[in-house]
Symmetry: C2
């Protein structure tokens, strides 16, 4: 069992605190994709729930614990999915939720956060600037700061996906996980390395936002000056040291993919699987496209982690060349 | 309990014979849709499985029983979804499957049937002509004829959706069900009228293929000369008397919707729920759009029954006017 900050017993108990609407998400072979990708592909679909991403698994833990014995208010920085999920989980428990986001964030995500009764504050910068502002708000107001990937609930919530995958293992050889802050990768990775260590855990990040992947390869935190990717959900510049330490223990590899591959992946998921996904959710397919030989003949699971996308941008991306 | 041909005890036992990949499909509130539809909307999503429609629930029963003690071969007529599902279920059990379809059927569906190793025969006519041909093949070859909606397994397989909905009732007031041959409507209707009789069961059919709806209203079989709808999955001309009898016992209403509403429904499901659906799966939203007053303030479940669609046609339909 890898010596991460995550605790397998807590993860096994977590589903009891998570609304069932987020649990036991579909996991199924998609043969129409296999013909074009050259390997067996299963989809773990995290978009068919009220917030259209996997983040609800973690925010249910955060909000559940706060409702039991914490401040009745919380703030988080978010590219949009965490904020939406925290707003959903907080609303159901009567918590005050504040979300800090970049004013360049996806309009669809910002609209949904507002619609879920959260207070939304926009910063004139990127996600890492939103993180600073959220921390300042938490200090000033004395409320809970929810830090994605650092706070253990966000990792252990995501880790429940790993439990569901482990139930199906060893029918598959590798799992492809979008890598941003690291909650999803460390969560799923921790469980698989504990319960199904033979499954290869491969993290995928855009070449335009490579900080965590570079950090993983160099085994120390590497930051970048900027990011340049349409995959807004994973576009961080400053990896969190504790999360990197965990990732070093559970990931077998971390790869970077080009924007063109992400778009091709989104298009394939639409054309062959009928799935509308946000760019981050196409990273796995992009990784297969960029290294078909690596996956040929193997059975790969890709976690389709989110489907919140501005439809105008989406249609522009998937338009035929 | 309505005195249909369906048996509640058998339906309760059915999930044991159905591959779990088809069961416990997502059921979730979609608030983004609610803002535009004026009522609370929950989606029962039957597209996130290997055949992208609910039909696998029924074909698993058919194929499971055949594998136990029947001929090792079966034939069905299909607009595409039943054929794909029967091919999937048959392949897993070593059965020979023949599918008869109209040569005008959805290319996406026909391609998937072929890819699943079924023998595909095309007729130069519509679905009801395919039914005749399938019956002739069954007689000639002495193999099992699988008749959608008439064969009780197809209804009781679909009825397992009703079990899953009944578990969530009475949190909702009405369920909107696409009406074609009637398997889905009688299946879900039977269970709801048995376990949650207060839930209104509303069947929805295209005005361009109104035979079963007209039959329900007149309480006798009414056929039509032709059909004219993009909702290929529900375009039958000749209702089956036994199925009509069951439908009369379990449906509270049957309504017709215009093609424009079906397209608007598909577009809304894409824009606000991120779902790519085939026209039949948009009938429920179309019904709300055509009678907002009826549903205002109520909580409605719509069964998103299939997502197999030719992408070229799909993009043409959803293109902005």
């Amino acid at each position: 069992m890898p010596a991460t900050r995550l605790d397998t017993a807590r993860i096994r108990a977590a589903p009891r605190m998570i609304d069932s609407v987020f649990l036991d998400s579909p996991l199924y072979r998609c043969e129409a994709l296999e013909a074009v990708l050259g390997c067996a592909v299963s989809i773990k679909l995290e978009t068919a729930n009220p917030v259209r991403s996997f983040k609800g698994r973690g925010t249910e833990l955060v909000a559940g614990l706060l409702a039991e014995n914490g401040p009745r208010a919380a703030v988080c920085a978010s590219a949009g999915n965490l904020g939406q999920a925290l707003a959903w989980s907080g609303r159901g428990r009567g918590l005050d939720v504040t979300v800090v986001a970049s004013r360049f964030a996806s309009t669809a995500k910002l609209d949904r956060i507002r619609a879920l009764d959260a207070r939304l504050e926009l910063v004139d910068g990127d996600f890492d600037m939103a993180r600073e502002r959220a921390a300042a708000i938490a200090r000033h107001d004395g409320i809970r700061l929810v830090e994605d990937s650092l706070d253990i609930e966000t990792c252990e919530g995501a880790a429940t996906i790993g439990l569901e995958l482990a139930d199906a293992a060893p029918s598959f050889d590798a799992v492809l996980i979008a890598l941003g802050g690291g909650a999803l990768a460390t969560g799923v990775g921790h469980v698989l390395k504990t319960l199904a260590p033979e499954v290869e855990v491969i993290c995928v990040q855009p070449a335009g936002a490579p900080a965590m992947t570079r950090s993983w390869h160099r085994r120390r935190v590497v930051t970048t000056e900027s990011t340049d990717t349409i995959a807004d959900g994973v576009a961080g510049r400053r990896p969190i040291p504790d999360v990197l330490d965990d990732l070093l223990l559970v990931a077998d590899d971390a790869v970077l993919v080009e924007e063109g591959s992400i778009i091709a992946g989104m298009r394939m998921l639409l054309d062959h699987a009928g799935l509308v996904v946000e760019p981050s959710a196409a990273l796995g397919v992009a990784a297969i496209l960029e290294d078909r030989a690596r996956f040929a003949g193997r059975h790969v699971v890709t976690v389709v982690c989110g489907g919140n996308v501005d439809m105008e941008a989406y249609h522009r991306w998937i338009r035929r060349p």
